[in-house]
């Protein structure tokens, strides 16, 4: 049996890598993907805790996280398409002024 703390450490490592990617990368879509990576890490922690405590609430919550991530990806990518159309670039540093 794999100890629960191993899963939690994997989740922490993935979350940290997501943060590192979010800080490093300049492409908007890659930033979005790092956010998804962080959400996945949190999902793993939820499932690990749910199995540890023997309750299913964690898994239901993961279900909702996946649904919300889907909705967020749809709207976020629509915004990314708009930015690319208006700024002609996917570099997040070009989107740094409030007026168009």
């Amino acid at each position: 049996m794999v100890p629960v703390s191993y899963f939690l450490m994997l989740s922490a490592a993935l979350f940290g890598l997501g943060v590192v990617g979010f800080v490093f990368k300049r492409n908007i879509i890659t930033l979005f993907m790092c956010i998804e990576l962080m959400l996945n890490a949190v999902n793993l922690a939820f499932i690990a805790f749910s199995r540890m405590l023997g309750q299913l609430d964690g898994q239901v919550f993961v279900f909702f996280v996946i649904v919300v991530a889907a909705a967020e990806a749809a709207v976020g990518l629509a915004i990314v398409i708009l930015i690319a159309r208006n700024r002609k670039s996917l570099n997040v540093e070009r989107v740094d002024s409030m007026k168009l």
Binding site: M1, V2, V4, S5, Y6, F7, L8, M9, L10, A12, A13, L14, F15, G16, L17, V19, V20, G21, V23, F24, K25, R26, N27, I29, T30, M33, C34, E36, L37, N40, N43, L44, I47, A48, S50, R51, M52, L53, L56, D57, Q59, F63, F64, I66, V67, V68, A69, A70, A71, E72, A73, A74, V75, L77, A78, I81, A84, L90, N91, E93
Partner: protein, 164 residues
């Protein structure tokens, strides 16, 4: 058990390798492929933890639909290789140590508290148990997510529509 530890480490190595590759690759399509690898590895981890339904849902929805959306947008916008600018180097000097500090702190606190964690239950979760909990205990959030999805559909349509 021996096989389970081996499977855990193989899948964990895949997940971490995919996440590192996500950061290291310069073209967004390669990053998205790495993220798909991470998601499939995590689905394997969920299987190890006994939740087969969530593993299947992760692959169908996350890796099979959300990431398809990402790949679609990358191909549509013809995203190219990332450029290196001055500000990104600045972020490295401050951001990387902070992130490493975050991970070290999390791992340290987990190790410190791991003795107090109860022993894990074994066996797999049946889909009907999960469904009963979802549709009886959590029916209100469930209906709310359907409204959320409707709002997201309308929002995405309105935002991405080309003005005639």
């Amino acid at each position: 058990m021996h096989v389970q530890m081996l499977m855990f480490f193989v899948l964990a190595a895949l997940a971490i390798g995919g996440a590192v590759n996500l950061i290291v690759q310069r073209h967004p399509i390669h990053s998205s492929l790495s993220l798909i690898v991470v998601m499939v590895a995590l689905a394997g981890e969920y299987l190890l933890l006994g939740s087969e339904f969530i593993a299947a849902v992760q692959i169908i929805v996350y890796a099979g639909a959300i990431m398809v959306l990402f790949v679609f947008v990358i191909m549509l916008l013809n995203a190219g290789v990332e450029e290196r600018t001055h500000a990104s180097r600045m972020a490295q000097y401050v951001g990387l140590p902070m992130a490493v500090l975050l991970v070290v702190e999390l791992v340290w606190s987990i190790r410190r508290g791991s003795a107090a964690l109860p022993v894990q239950v074994s066996g797999t979760v049946s889909t009907s148990q999960l469904a009963t909990l979802l549709f009886r205990g959590f029916v209100f959030p469930f209906e709310l997510t359907s409204v959320l999805i409707l709002v997201a559909i309308i929002g995405a349509l309105v935002l991405a529509k080309r003005e005639p």
